[in-house]
Symmetry: C2
Subunit: 328 residues, 2 copies
C-alpha cells in the first residue's frame, strides 16, 4: 500500500481508483492493514463534506436493484454524485443474488458520477458493520452527494444500516400484506419514507389502494424515529415514475432534519454507538489473542465432551481465572 | 426462588409449573438469577433424556403456526410429548404477530402433552441465544420427546436455531419463487427437510409442480449439512394432510443420524460453539462492569463529538490502556 496521506488526498479528489483501493484497505482484516485503515480514516476526518446517507430496505423481490438503478440515474442526471453500498450482517451468502453487483445496475454502473461498491466477497463476522460504516465515511469524504446504503435480508441488517444513515427508505410491494413481506412493525417504525413500488401495469390499482390504506392508518398506528409519521408514496422503478416525488420528499426531509437539529444529533449518537461497538469488537479480538487463552478453551471443550461439564460453568471459570490473574 | 435442587427435580418430573418457573429463571438477567440458573442447569445435566430437537423456519405467511398446531397435535395424538420454543435474535419485536403466542395454536396449547413457551416479552441483546439453548435443555430434561424450535425472521435466527437443533425443517410456499420468499441458498442448504406447505385448494397443483422442480434439481444443486440432499415433501398444515409422511421422514432421519454418528458429533460441536459464545458474552459483560470503564467510555464519547476524534482510534486507545494496566 502506497503512502496513506497520498491515498487520502486522492480519495478526497474523487479519484475512483483511490476510492476502490481505500475501501479494499478498510475491508482487509490484516493487522497492518487495520493500522493503515485507521490512519486513512484519520486523514479523511478533515473533510467537512456532508453527503445525505439514505438506507434502503425491502424484501427480496420488491425491486430494490431496479429502484437504485432508476433513482441513481435520476440523481446523476441532475448532476449529483451517487455512491451505492451494501450491508449484509449475516454470515450466510447466496451465490449470485447478493447486492453490490454491478451487473444488477448496468446503466448506473456506467455513469461517471456513480460509484457502486460490490459487497465484500467473504464475510468475516464481527467486522461487517465496521467496514460498512468506514466505506460510507470514505464515500462522503470523496464528495458524493448521496450515499445509498442497501440492506440484504430482513431484520438485523436494517438495524445495522439504520446506525449509519440519515434517512431510511422502505420499499414495499403493492398489496402483498405485511406478513408475506416479512415486514415487522419495528422496521416500518424505522422508515422515514415508505415507497410502494411496482405501481405499474395491473398492480397500479393495488399500489394506490395500499397507499390510501397506509395514509388512513398512519396517524394513529405508526410513529417514525426522527419526526412524526413516515411519508408514503407510490412509484414504479421500472417505468421511472414517481422518482421526482421521491427525490423531493427525501430532500425536504433533509432540510427539516437540518433545521430541527435532528441531523447532527443523529450523527453524534451514531458516532457514540460506533465507539461502543468497536470497543466490544476489539475486546474480543484481543482477549482471544492473549497467551494461553485458545489452549484453555480447547481443554474446556474436551472436558465438556468427556466429562459432560456445563459450558456456562466452564465459561464462567475461564473468565474468573483470567480476570483474577490480570487485575491490579 | 425456592430450592434449586427441588426445582430441578420437579422439572425432571415434568411438572409444568416448575418448567415455566425454570424457564423464567433462565430468562432473567439478574445476577443472582444467573447463578441460580447455572445451578439449575447443572442439576438437569444428570438427566440422560434425549429429545429430538427440530428447527422450523420459513418466511412469515408460509403457515408456520398452523403447521406447528397440526403437526404438534398429530404428535400428541400418538402419545408423544411436544414442546414449542421460539428463537428471535433481533431486537426489534412486532406487537402481536410474534411467536410463542398460545393463541396462535389454541388446540395444541390445550393438549396436556404439549408445552408452548411464549417468547420472552423483552429482548436483551446478547442473551437471547443463551436463553433459547437453556430452554431447549430444560425441556429435554423434562422428558419431552420432540422440541420444535421456531425461528422468527429470516436470516440470523436460522443460524442461531441451527446451533441448537438436531434437524432443520424449512417451510416454503408453493411456487412463490425463492426470491419472493426471501430464502437464501445458504438457508436451503441448512435444511434437512423442505416442506412445501399450503398444498391444498387451488395451490395444490402449484405445490406438486414445485416439488417436482426441487426433486429434479436437488441432485446437482443442493447439499445438506448433515448427509446428502434435503428431502422434499408437500403438505397441507391447514387440512392436516401429509403429516404422516413428515413424521416418518423426520424419524427416519433421526435413526440415520444415530447410526452414522452425526447425531452425537453434531451435539458435541454445538456444545463447543456454545462455550465460545458464552465466553464472549461473559467477557463483554465483565469488561463493562470493570471500575472506571463506563466513565472512560463517556469521556471518549464527549471527545469524539467535541474534538472530532475518530471512534476507532478511541476504542484502540481504551483497550491499549486497559490491557497494559491489567497484564501481569
Amino acid at each position: 500500500m502506497e503512502n496513506i496521506a497520498e491515498l487520502a488526498k486522492s480519495v478526497m479528489n474523487a479519484d475512483r481508483r483511490a476510492l476502490s483501493q481505500a475501501i479494499t484497505l478498510i475491508e482487509s482484516s490484516r493487522d497492518d492493514h487495520r493500522i493503515q485503515a485507521m490512519e486513512l480514516m484519520d486523514h479523511l476526518r478533515s473533510s467537512d463534506r456532508k453527503a445525505i446517507r439514505v438506507g434502503l430496505s425491502g424484501t427480496p423481490g420488491v425491486g430494490k436493484s431496479t429502484f437504485i438503478e432508476s433513482f441513481g440515474t435520476y440523481l446523476t442526471g441532475m448532476g449529483l454524485r451517487v455512491a451505492v453500498l451494501a450491508v449484509d450482517p449475516s454470515s450466510i451468502r447466496s451465490g449470485g443474488s447478493i447486492l453490490g453487483d454491478k451487473t444488477r445496475m448496468e446503466r448506473l454502473a456506467r455513469e461517471p458520477n456513480a460509484y457502486i461498491r460490490p459487497s465484500p466477497s467473504q464475510t468475516h463476522l464481527g467486522g461487517v458493520a465496521r467496514r460498512s460504516r468506514e466505506a460510507v465515511a470514505i464515500c462522503e469524504a470523496a464528495g458524493f452527494d448521496t450515499i445509498l446504503v442497501e440492506t440484504v435480508g430482513v431484520g438485523q441488517s436494517e438495524i445495522e444500516a439504520a446506525s449509519m444513515v440519515d434517512l431510511f427508505v422502505l420499499l414495499l410491494l403493492p398489496n402483498a400484506g405485511d406478513e408475506l413481506q416479512g415486514i415487522k412493525k419495528g422496521i416500518l417504525e424505522m422508515a422515514d419514507l415508505v415507497l410502494i413500488n411496482k405501481a405499474d401495469g395491473h398492480l397500479k390499482k393495488d399500489a394506490e389502494k395500499s397507499l390510501r390504506d397506509f395514509q388512513g392508518a398512519k396517524n394513529y398506528t405508526i410513529e417514525a424515529q426522527n419526526f412524526g409519521s413516515p411519508d408514503f408514496l407510490c412509484c414504479s422503478a421500472l417505468n421511472r415514475e414517481g422518482l421526482v416525488e421521491v427525490y423531493e420528499r427525501i430532500f425536504e426531509k433533509r432540510e427539516l432534519l437540518h433545521k430541527n437539529g435532528h441531523w447532527i444529533e443523529n450523527r453524534q449518537n451514531q458516532q457514540k454507538q460506533w465507539l461502543r461497538m468497536l470497543v466490544d469488537e476489539e475486546l474480543q479480538q484481543r482477549f482471544h489473542h492473549q497467551p494461553g487463552i485458545q489452549e484453555k478453551i480447547e481443554i474446556l471443550e474436551e472436558e465438556i465432551i468427556s466429562q459432560n461439564k456445563l459450558p456456562s460453568i466452564c465459561a464462567e471459570n475461564l473468565l474468573d481465572d483470567w480476570f483474577t490473574n490480570n487485575k491490579g
